[in-house]
């Protein structure tokens, strides 16, 4: 195991504790200091870059170990000089708590990783666009407040304007009706389709073209339209009697 295989000094310490089946709650930290230092030394022999976090942890471990080697009930002056015993106990306890906390998140991360792999295997489907089901305003809503006199006035204004400047704008679809007719006919010959399907993802001017093309195909008796429910979709099939055209 190389140092690089570990996420950091805590991960390495955890590995040392778990690989020796020690109990994280009461393993003396000093006991794993030697193995930690061995890992570090080997990595340095390979001249691998050792992240500074590993070195900081090494210093901390050595300090804890050094204090643990001092006689616990030695002369008072030694205890005072080295800050024994409270600080040693605090350092060790703090490191242990960090290890326990880190382990909890490491386990949670593994569980999340497994969960994401399981979940990635489950798929949904793309939504259907709902615009075609949007209610159109009713005629009375649409014309609310408009009176017949307004119609007359509007016509008068329009006539007055066209006298001056005849500017009739026609927004055309880029595609002629005849071309759309050929496409629709080809499509229904492959398989029946529906009016809503023909209109899917189309803009208003294209819808006009599709509508005109369908009307023309009906007139020429090349397709058959059938509506099963009021306001339902319209099924369009090829008129096989006429397919030779």
């Amino acid at each position: 195991m190389r140092l690089q295989a570990f996420e950091g000094p805590l991960d390495l310490l955890l590995h040392l504790i778990e690989s020796q089946e020690l109990d994280i709650y009461d393993v003396p930290i000093a006991r794993i200091t030697d193995q930690y230092m061995t890992y570090l030394r080997e990595s340095m022999e390979f001249q691998l870059e050792v992240a500074s976090e590993f070195l900081v942890m090494a210093a901390q471990l050595l300090a804890i170990k050094a204090r643990s080697l001092l006689p616990r009930h030695g002369p008072t002056e030694i205890q005072v000089a080295y800050g024994f015993d409270a600080e040693y106990v605090d350092d060790e306890r703090e490191l242990r708590e960090r290890l326990i906390e880190y382990r909890a998140f490491k386990l949670a991360a593994q569980a999340l990783g497994e969960q994401s792999l399981l979940w990635a295997e489950r798929v949904g489907r793309l939504p259907l666009p709902l615009e075609s089901f949007q209610e159109q305003p009713t005629v009375s809503d649409f014309l609310a407040g408009v009176e017949v006199l307004h119609l007359r006035d509007s016509l008068a204004r329009a006539l007055a304007r066209t006298k001056i400047d005849l500017d009739v704008r026609i927004v055309r679809d880029r595609e002629p009706v005849a071309q759309r007719m050929r496409l629709i006919e080809k499509q229904v010959r492959d398989a029946p389709t529906t009016f809503v399907h023909l209109l899917r993802n189309r803009r208003r001017r294209e819808i006009v073209t599709v509508f005109l093309a369908v009307l023309e195909l009906i007139r020429l008796n090349r397709i058959i339209c059938r509506q099963e429910v009021q306001f339902g979709d319209i099924w369009i099939t090829a008129n096989t009697a006429n397919i030779a055209l």
Binding site: A111, Q115, V123, R125, L126, P127, E131, F133, D233
Partner: protein
């Protein structure tokens, strides 16, 4: 890991065992007890979405011939009708796909009246950018670039009319190629997607 037990609903169900010995059952009386294959077929059609599945694909998965694949789809349609499904398998062009039934229309109208929660997630924005610059592009190519499953983000864009299916790729399975819509161009005031600002300038800083 002792805390991985969450949200693993393991639905009851018989293991689907597609295979030769079942072939005979597809056309004749399918019962829930012998089932599995039709349910699996329905699941696959669900996942295939509007790309649909061809007889050839169905035949390949269930190891049957193509006429049997057609028969399976017809049997599935019967099953769906019996169980009152509001989406049914239909043949459109050369592929089978699930399509909503006319009975659902009043509900869809009703749904169209309730505005969905609207927010453009970062995932959706990123997916839109990829489609805008790299169109035409398949869903799996988008996922390759983003490094994550993107069906949700793509779905948002399709539902909002910003992206659409524009053609089919020639690769296996003939997946859809996606592109941006005219509404997308209108919204950003672009004449065509070639008017998008060039990508290179972005990170010279």
């Amino acid at each position: 890991m002792d805390h991985s037990e969450h949200s693993e609903h393991s639905p009851v169900g018989m293991a689907p065992t597609p295979g030769a010995q079942e072939k005979a059952d597809f056309s004749s009386g399918f019962t829930a007890a012998t089932g599995g294959a039709l349910q699996a077929l329905e699941g696959l059609l669900f996942a295939a979405g509007t790309e649909g599945l061809t007889n050839r694909q169905i035949a390949g998965v269930f190891d049957v011939d193509e006429p049997s694949a057609t028969q399976m789809c017809l049997d599935l349609r019967d099953l769906q009708s019996r169980e009152g499904r509001r989406f049914l398998v239909e043949r459109l062009a050369d592929a089978w796909q699930l399509m909503t039934a006319p009975e659902l229309t009043p509900y869809l109208r009703q749904l169209a009246l309730v505005p969905p929660p609207s927010s453009l997630s970062q995932a959706a924005l990123e997916t839109l950018a990829i489609i805008a610059y790299r169109q035409p592009i398949t869903r799996s190519q988008i996922e390759d670039i983003r490094g994550v499953k993107s069906e949700k983000a793509l779905g948002t864009l399709v539902a909002r009319g910003l992206a659409q299916e524009i053609a089919r790729a020639d690769s296996p399975g003939r997946p859809f190629l996606y592109g941006t819509t005219n509404d997308f161009l209108d919204y950003f005031g672009l004449g065509s997607h070639r008017d998008l600002p060039p990508l290179e300038q972005m990170d010279n800083g």
